[in-house]
């Protein structure tokens, strides 16, 4: 992701979860986790066209909020509370374009935030079994490669 996209998505993610739980420290802010790194890796694997669309989305949030909010400050430079209000407004908007953009940013960032280990205790989620239990990889059913009947012929039909 380019620096602006990185900055805007990070700013949006922090705003989306800003509130009681982040303020009292029971949840980290996304920018304090590896969320953006994982998101970046995912975006890197997308086609050029998809990466362009994500850049466009970030710019829509960054500058669109100036237009709709009639301010001179771009989204990522606003205080957390104001960013949250803007995102809430976009997510709930009656204008389809804003609603799609707001929810798009939320889906993109939150899908990678709640996979961070630091958020698990908030949800009482155990996380991957592989990280909790010593299950031998080799306790596997052997693949039985055996003779089998040949593929049945198609019943002949006129068609």
């Amino acid at each position: 992701m380019d620096p602006l996209t990185h900055r805007v998505l990070g700013a949006a993610a922090d705003a989306l979860v800003h509130g009681t739980h982040t303020l009292n420290g029971s949840l980290p802010y996304p920018s304090q986790t590896a969320m953006l790194e994982h998101l970046d890796r995912m975006v890197h694997g997308l086609s050029d066209d998809m990466q362009f669309q994500i850049r466009l989305l970030a710019r829509a949030i960054e500058f669109g909020s100036m237009i709709f909010g009639m301010t001179f400050t771009c989204f990522s430079k606003l205080p957390l509370q104001e960013r949250q209000e803007i995102l809430a407004d976009w997510c709930d908007s009656r204008i389809a374009l804003r609603r799609v953009a707001g929810n798009g940013v939320k889906m993109l960032t939150m899908a990678f935030y709640w996979t961070e280990n630091e958020t698990f205790s908030h949800m009482k989620y155990d996380g991957p079994l592989l990280e909790r239990a010593d299950i031998p990889y080799f306790e596997l059913n052997p693949m039985l490669v055996q003779g089998e009947d040949p593929l049945p012929p198609l019943p002949p039909k006129d068609f």
């Binding site: 009681t20 086609s47 066209d49 998809m50 809430a88 889906m107 899908a111 935030y113 079994l129």
Partner: protein, 530 residues
């Protein structure tokens, strides 16, 4: 025939060391085009392609199976982490959007395709659907005549019955709700053996309990002399407007290096799935005089709903889908309409993307993740969407449920809310985007009909793309014959869910593999003469 056991712990090493696996890690040592020659090249290694490739190899036919994604070694590659596995196993992390962003479609990538990330539901082709295919499209075989192929799929996948003791709380909630309301439901079959019930099916089974195509059909393909090329996106079917000549594509390494791959073949099978097959055919200028390729796309759209309960549900634990409610699955009787209510609990990344709200309201809901149950009504859709080729070989998809399908979805959402409330939910979130709806009683349920299924204003997902290059008896109805042969280019076949002339209504894996087995049977027969 001898019984040969290959211990699964070195099964993948056996494949890798066979000389029959080509992948970016080992075949990027030259920037010259990789040239191969074969009799049949199968493009796409999911439920359709892996079956066709394997069955042809078993007949002694020279086959190359090509896959855009990676060849997985589960014990190395599957770490059960959503942030790694969702992008790895599914295009766009399972959220490929239609052009207007109103519907998110999930389809798999990597050897084994969607069979690696699916939830193992093993449902046979519904009889009423096959009868509808016969009536409307001239499908020549009866449901009974499909059974030898269905049984063969069962054997390969080790399909067996889920046991009542394997239902987790999310599924028990469905069962309790259905029983209280007097609705019909059932415990399905699945293709897991020795399941640990860890609940991480959707991010790839790290323990080889899920009998995906990756660990069933693909190893047998290699055993029988087939070749597998991974990391290679086929971009063109080579042809002279009369007959196919092979395929060309690009092998791609994670570090960005690429290498052209060209495979000469007298027969090509398009098994890249219903989303990508039309893109391949269109980008290859495959003749399509009736404009049918990509014009009959169906998806089984569904609305995800979350109910919050007083008791802990811990929906991520245990086998994800072990009870289905088919009370309203009209298509099982008539071949038309209705819906099935599925349990759909997801892990937190997936869930967090859908839970409504921002700030403290949002994080408070996520704090109740362990008290959440999730279901989705999935409709048997009649809407026909379109797929065309966009930039970078990406599909451009137009699909939104038409008015009748919207009515089915509304009814599905209403019944699902009723089910969750009957099972004891304190409240149920209906994912409208502008004003999220919290349903608690029959008045709220009735209000769902007023809100409807507004475009871009409700979460809509689809996990069963199908029907985009359907087979039919008449040329005007389908570009493919019932043998899988494409009508307008010799020796081109299609073999996967693209072929379905209607929605199948339920989990499609067994149906896809059945139909693909039949295509392989024709290809291996005297009639086709490979």
């Amino acid at each position: 025939m001898p019984v040969v056991q290959i211990p699964a712990d070195n099964m993948f090493a056996t494949i890798a060391g066979s000389g029959q696996l080509y992948e970016a890690d080992t075949h990027m040592n030259s920037n010259e085009t990789l040239h191969l020659t074969t009799t049949v090249v199968v493009v796409g290694s999911g439920a359709g392609g892996s079956v066709v490739a394997r069955e042809l190899a078993a007949h002694g036919i020279d086959v190359v199976l090509v896959e855009a994604g990676r060849f997985w070694r589960p014990h190395q590659d599957f770490n059960q982490r959503e942030e790694t596995m969702s992008p790895a196993l599914m295009y766009h992390s399972g959220a490929r959007a239609t052009q207007d962003q109103s519907l998110l479609i999930s389809h798999g990538k990597g050897v084994g395709g969607s069979t690696v990330h699916n939830i193992c539901l093993s449902v046979d082709p519904p009889q009423a659907i096959i009868e509808r295919w016969q009536d409307e499209f001239g499908f020549p075989w009866s449901h009974a005549e499909l059974q030898p192929y269905v049984e063969r799929v069962h054997m390969h996948l080790g399909i067996n019955q889920v046991q009542p003791g394997q239902l987790n709380e999310n599924n028990l909630i469905l069962q309790r709700g259905a029983e209280k309301l007097g609705w019909r439901g059932f415990i399905p079959k699945h293709n897991r053996l020795g399941c640990l019930e860890c609940g991480f099916c959707e991010v790839g089974c790290a323990f080889n309990r899920k009998q995906s195509a990756l660990i069933t059909y693909v190893p047998r393909l290699i055993r029988d002399g087939g070749r597998l090329i991974a990391d290679t996106r086929i971009e063109k079917i080579l042809h002279d407007n009369n007959a196919v000549q092979g395929v060309r594509g690009t092998m791609r390494h994670a570090d960005g290096r690429t290498r052209t791959v060209e495979i000469k073949a007298s027969t090509v099978v398009a098994s890249g799935g219903a989303v990508l097959n039309p893109v391949l055919l269109k980008n290859s200028d495959v003749p399509d005089p009736n404009g049918l390729v990509g014009s009959t796309f169906r998806t089984h759209p569904a609305v995800p709903l979350g109910g919050f309960f007083h008791q802990r549900v811990d929906g991520w634990k245990g086998i994800p889908q072990t009870y289905l409610v088919d009370e309203f699955a009209d298509f099982l009787q008539t071949g038309y309409g209705g819906f099935v209510i599925f349990p759909i609990f997801g892990h937190p990344g997936q869930t967090g993307a859908l839970v409504p709200g921002t700030g403290s309201a949002y994080t408070s809901r996520m704090a109740r993740f362990d008290h959440m149950a999730a279901v989705a009504p999935m409709i048997h859709d009649e809407t026909m969407g379109t797929i065309r080729a966009g930039k970078d070989h990406e599909p451009v998809i137009d699909y939104f449920p038409h008015a009748e399908d919207q009515k089915q979805l509304i009814r599905g959402v209403q019944k699902s809310v009723e089910l969750l409330l009957a099972a004891g939910a304190e409240e149920v979130f209906v994912p409208y985007l502008d004003t999220p709806m919290i349903a608690r009683n029959s008045r709220d349920i009735a209000h769902i009909a007023t809100r409807g299924i507004p475009r871009n204003n409700i979460a809509l997902n689809a996990v069963h793309p199908m029907g985009s290059i359907r087979f039919a008896g008449k040329e005007k109805d389908g570009a493919v014959r019932f043998t899988g042969e494409y009508r307008h280019l010799k020796n081109l076949f299609v073999a996967d869910a693209s072929l379905f002339p209607t929605s199948i209504g339920t989990a499609p894996t067994v149906s896809i593999m059945t139909v693909s087995s039949m295509v392989a049977s024709y290809m291996a027969s005297e009639r086709y003469r490979l």
